[in-house]
């Protein structure tokens, strides 16, 4: 059987399995809470699957592997370590947020801060950020499917509708079930390719020795022999870490777990599983580089994995890896579409304009928004950004400066006030935007990610305004 036929066979089997798994969710979804948080009923296995598969996106799969290929060990510090440390903070959320009966994270802000306007604002942040972030998943999907089926990139990205829109339509029940399948596919792909790389190149020691020889040790250095400054590594890692810690797509999985114990176990287990998966990608990225002395250009690092797999392994092995990349893209994109649709309708539209809305109408409106938002992301993905890892860190920064202080402060500090939350979000956004523009136009502060000063300002404003308003108004939180 020729290569394209094998790929098409794999693709067809994966499609059928995904559609079957997604179908189950439609039957179970009857209410708003079913759609948004699966009725707060998910057990440990499904919770771990959906948390892990959602966190492990096209950025993880393609950009981390490509960055390791180009720069060696240092990208682990400014991306993966940041994500895993961000998961640690989620334990604090899991410890408290199950006390609130919520369908979305912005609804928590409404309950905690007694503000419909702030719920709408934070809901709008979700809509904006996820539309931009889904572009990453569509690009990741497009790169692979164009290679897999030997079709044009722009045609390939159209296919993502079939998967993402369909699985999102069934709500979190559908998304979480398909995430279990996607996680199995991702793990299978990484294990097979990492094992094949280790066998082909004679083990990790041989790969390291070759990596030293071709890069004068830069690939094995924590800063790539000074290519990245420690400050840049720390602050970019913080951008990812704080963005993960405040990210609604992970917090909603805490809320959807059936109880607090399950939610905490989910975060702990998922973090350990993720750390093993990223080690597999490290092996693949370094192994690919050790094989070739001339690296791909920095602008093509996201394409490196599919190029390497396609040209170095037979169709039966590389096909599995391609499906696992597709699974990583879909498992994140459908989750984000679900969240943004729920936020648009529940936190913005229903909250501000129409209080009474039936469950059926809400579900249909969500499906319409999923379709529209998916279309906008698709159009943006026609001319995608060049490096997913840096682009994504900027989007996650928005969550850091708007959600982090109001979320953790609200859960653990009784003096946190509505005014503190609102002004900290506005101040954080203002600083982030100013520094981003200053960097973009004048190259100001290119060694420091804007998330660090923006989050510090956001936290300072949150503290100062909350203290002042709490004392002035005799606030009862």
């Amino acid at each position: 059987m020729n290569r394209v036929m094998v790929y098409m066979l794999y693709f067809a089997i994966y499609t059928v399995l995904l559609l079957m798994m997604g179908k189950n969710g439609f039957k179970k979804t009857n209410t708003i809470k079913d759609f948004c948080v699966a009725g707060n009923s998910l057990g440990l296995f499904i919770s771990v699957s959906t948390f892990t598969a959602t966190l492990f996106s096209a950025v993880s799969m393609q950009s981390v592997t490509g960055s390791v290929y180009l720069y060696g060990y240092s990208p682990l510090l400014y991306s993966v370590v940041g994500w895993l440390l961000g998961c640690s903070l989620l334990i604090f959320v899991a410890n408290r947020i199950k006390n609130y009966d919520i369908a979305t994270i912005p609804e928590y802000f409404k309950i905690r801060y007694h503000s419909s306007g702030y719920q709408a604002f934070t809901g709008s942040i979700i809509v904006l950020c996820y539309i931009l972030y889904i572009v990453i998943q569509i690009k990741g999907f497009g790169i692979v499917v164009s290679e897999l089926l030997d079709i044009n990139y722009n045609v390939a990205i159209l296919l993502i509708y079939l998967f993402v829109v369909y699985t999102s339509f069934g709500g979190l029940f559908s998304v979480s079930k398909t995430d279990a399948l996607n996680l199995i596919m991702i793990c299978l792909g990484i294990c097979i390719i990492a094992a094949a790389v280790l066998l082909d190149y004679g083990g990790i020691t041989a790969i390291h020795e070759k990596a030293v020889a071709i890069s004068e040790g830069a690939l094995l250095d924590a800063t790539s022999n000074g290519y990245f400054s420690p400050l840049m590594i720390i602050t970019t890692g913080m951008a990812w870490g704080l963005g993960t810690a405040a990210n609604p797509q992970y917090i909603i999985r805490i809320s959807s777990a059936k109880n607090k114990k399950t939610a905490i176990q989910m975060v702990c287990l998922a973090t350990i599983i993720l750390s093993i998966m990223y080690l597999g990608l490290l092996v693949v990225g370094l192994g690919a580089r050790a094989q070739e002395s001339s690296p791909v250009p920095a602008t093509a690092i996201d394409e490196m994995l599919s190029y390497f797999v396609h040209n170095n392994f037979g169709a039966y092995i590389s096909g599995i890896m391609f499906i696992s990349i597709i699974a990583a893209s879909i498992s994140t994109a459908n989750s984000q579409l679900l969240l943004l649709a729920g936020s648009f309708n529940y936190d913005v539209y229903r909250n501000l304009f129409k209080k009474d809305i039936s469950h059926d109408k809400f579900l249909n409106m969500n499906r319409l928004v999923i379709f529209i938002a998916g279309t906008i992301s698709l159009i943006l993905a026609v001319n995608p950004v060049e490096t997913l890892l840096i682009y994504g860190s900027y989007i996650w920064s928005i969550f850091s400066v708007t959600y982090l202080c109001p979320l953790y402060g609200g859960l653990y500090w009784k003096k946190a006030t509505k005014e503190g939350a609102i002004y900290s979000s506005i101040a954080g956004m203002a600083v982030l935007l100013t520094l981003y523009l200053a960097d973009h136009f004048y190259g100001f502060g290119e060694n420091i990610h804007p998330v660090l000063p923006a989050t510090v300002v956001s936290a300072a404003v949150f503290y100062a305004v909350s203290r002042r308003t709490y004392q002035e108004e005799g606030y009862e939180a």
Partner: protein
């Protein structure tokens, strides 16, 4: 590079900085969860 202590072909410095942080990050949620449960248990006993 060759003068550095190596393990599995990777310099000790990288093992400590990258490997150490990586290992810590992977198990930190479990450590925090354990600490929180001990704290709550302690508060419950009082």
């Amino acid at each position: 590079m060759t003068e550095q202590m190596m393990f599995l072909g990777l310099p000790a410095k990288t093992w400590i900085i990258v490997g150490g942080l990586y290992f810590l990050a992977a198990f930190l949620p479990t450590i925090i969860a354990f600490a929180l449960s001990r704290t709550e248990k302690g508060e419950g006993d009082e």
